[in-house]
Symmetry: C3
Subunit: 317 residues, 3 copies
């Protein structure tokens, strides 16, 4: 693997999942890959799960890490080319190039602005980062994708897959008080639809259709109750509108995932990437119940990113 | 040792002190305990001594660390159960559970609010943390206790103990401009009163009695000069009122520890946990004099926490 | 080497450069020096290059690091002696002494206030740090010097030195919108003038003469075009006035380093310590051209500081 930004960077998804599950069994057995290696972790926004799971993964490999919070640790970064930099202190091209000299993998998290769809969906910032880095890039989440979350998610699904010929996975929109990015649902739709023996259903209110590039292949149902019937996995997530870009259109709390809704499924597992607003996105009763596997997802974040680091470091030994 | 939150978690105090003094002699001799281990350090408030001494201790053991500053690094944490989380982004139960998946020991520092005695003295926050963590907890200070400071303090006393049958240790209240927590005096009273061949005296103005659970066994004297007579160790610390909870009642600068006061003792050593406001709590002349052993206490913080980490990690090998 | 604060701490400059270039060739060959060692990194201001290159250097040596951002991570530090500390929480003498107990080398970055020349040029803060530390000090930049940058710079010059009997190095003032410190030009002047077979020219507008202690031995020319003629290296940097202390006197954008100016040189390499304001200090065309070696300088920061750490750690093994 040369980089990890998109599911297309993964040559063989079932094999990657298998490798990640193997890493989970023996996390300390791969130190030859991390020896003398440093992984730089750069965040354009604060992070809990992503930073700590990436640090743990690096430690498992015997690699070192440094963490850099852009905007918090540093000066104002210039994003545009050709500017007379009277109001910014360092250009993104110089900052990224320099940081990449101090590590073997540059793992970066960016966010959408949710204002201009084109700016976000062309991944302008992430593409600049990729362009200016001297070392391989790992996405810790970009404006529109979160592939490491998805790798942890599909690992979790494979671990818990019931003994059925085909399983039904439902990605359900859920209510929220703020406009949220599309990265988790986009990536989940993309990755889950590549799983073998699985059918993906996406359910959301009108106006919340995801970009077809990602939802292609999934069955779209606007009736949440209907969608939940017979489901094996419910993946809950809020997202803002793609069509009416970045807007909050629906405030219907009936979309919250409740015990009653879960009863419509075939004893489905409840999934969410966390952090989650309790009793807004999902009822306490569901999240604290046995059907919730959110901590297993969170734990798998370590092995997902460790596997990705390993696959990239392999080419450097 | 299963956890380290309270002196009651220590099965044998003299033995623990001896182990810590041994760790100080050969700090790098115990790497088998830290191998492949990660210690998560979580702070609800900024920290210098506690963070750096804990990181150094982990490094001495060959263990990795990550640091997480709640509130600074992350979003708003919800503390109450059952809330509809419209104004907070992650529940403490989920944040703690997730963080605990990314380490082998979760070391946490919290603080009192000094507003509601019950909230603080029931250790509600710390008990939640303990409840939701999947791995052993080490207190880096809680609302009402600071056992790692006390372990470093009693190590220091044992190192410097004069050749007498019984020694006299005085915990003295000292002036300050702000209302401070009770954790250091509570723990010191508790730990020092368990030392063999030692008499503990606590001296403070009226209204500053500590919770009897911690001061029990000590002799309480309100006349500071009287208390200092014949003392071998003066442990100075300000604290706010326990009875009139969190209040600053006394502004009498005569309680400041001065050369003149120290002259009343039997050439006592001067102790303080740092940071200290010079010429408010204690005169420069004392702190810069030979009797001050505050740096020895600070150095012992490393070996105290290293020993605690080792005792807990021992059970995991 | 006992400490690294000033070029005078270097017993043999050509030998140090040679060692650093050797470290660059085999960065992981010196782990015996870093074993069981911890390097404390203390910043009075934010840092990108300096922090990350120092962490990478420590990792190359197998040493651990902790990072402490004074003012951001901690409470208000008292700088003056004898104060009744009603408005500050910890004295610099206690903070530095304690931090130095938790590491084997204390690497510190401070900044000038650019208000009182005497305060800055007497290095009052740095001298206090040196005085109170229990372990060797490495300057990551002080009020008036930046020797690690200079070591990386002279390494870069030696790597790229053209095959001439004598080379011409030009330190050129360049425009900026803010008053900047003198540390980089002071140190560069000092180090470059010690290079063998090299002539140093400094060019700047009237009123921008550096302190003669540092510019001594260099040829000063106020006509930038004249200075550039035949140059092999152009080192661009803004600085505020030394004479009219901390003031911005010249706003003439003709001092910006441009393609046209570079054409006056003997195909000189363009150097800058970064971060740089593009199209203020230097044109995009120069910085993005082949003559720019700023990333090589940035990369050499790792090997410069690694070599300094090694030279100091050698005495401790």
């Amino acid at each position: 693997m040369k980089q990890f930004i998109n599911v297309d960077d993964v040559p063989d998804l079932p094999q990657l999942i298998e490798k990640a599950l193997n890493v989970k069994r023996t996390p300390f057995a791969f130190k030859e890959f991390g020896r003398n290696k440093t992984i730089g972790l750069v965040f354009f926004n604060p992070s809990l799960r992503t930073r700590l799971s990436s640090q743990k993964a690096a430690f498992n490999l015997g690699a070192s890490t440094w963490v850099f919070n852009i905007n918090q640790d540093s000066w104002k970064i210039e994003m545009d080319d050709g500017t007379v930099m009277e109001n910014s202190q360092e250009h993104i091209k110089d900052a990224i190039a320099v940081m990449s000299l101090y590590c073997d993998i540059l793992a970066v998290r960016t966010f959408p602005n949710l204002l201009e769809r084109d700016y976000d969906y062309k991944e302008l910032l992430f593409n600049k980062i990729k362009h200016y880095s001297k070392v391989p890039i790992v996405s810790l989440e970009s404006a529109i994708l979160h592939p490491l979350q998805s790798l942890a998610d599909v690992m979790t699904i494979e671990e818990l897959r019931p003994a059925k010929e085909r399983i039904k996975i439902v990605l359900s929109w859920a209510p929220h008080v703020k406009a949220l990015p599309h990265s988790v649902p986009n990536s989940f739709a993309q990755w889950a639809s590549k799983l073998q023996g699985a059918d993906l259903v996406i359910t959301h209110p009108e106006g919340y259709a995801l970009d077809e590039r990602f939802s292609r292949g999934a069955c779209i149902i606007h009736d949440q109750d209907e969608a939940f019937k017979g489901a094996d996995f419910i993946y809950a997530k809020n997202w803002s509108s793609f069509i009416d870009y970045g807007k909050l259109l629906c405030h219907d709390m009936d979309w919250m995932i409740s015990r009653k809704k879960m009863a419509l499924t075939d004893r489905a597992k409840f999934m969410h990437c966390l952090p989650v607003r309790r009793n807004v996105v999902v009822e306490d009763a569901v999240l604290d119940g046995e059907e919730a596997v959110v901590l297993q997802q969170a734990e798998n974040r370590v092995f997902a990113v460790q596997t990705v680091f390993m696959e990239i470091l392999k080419n450097m030994v």
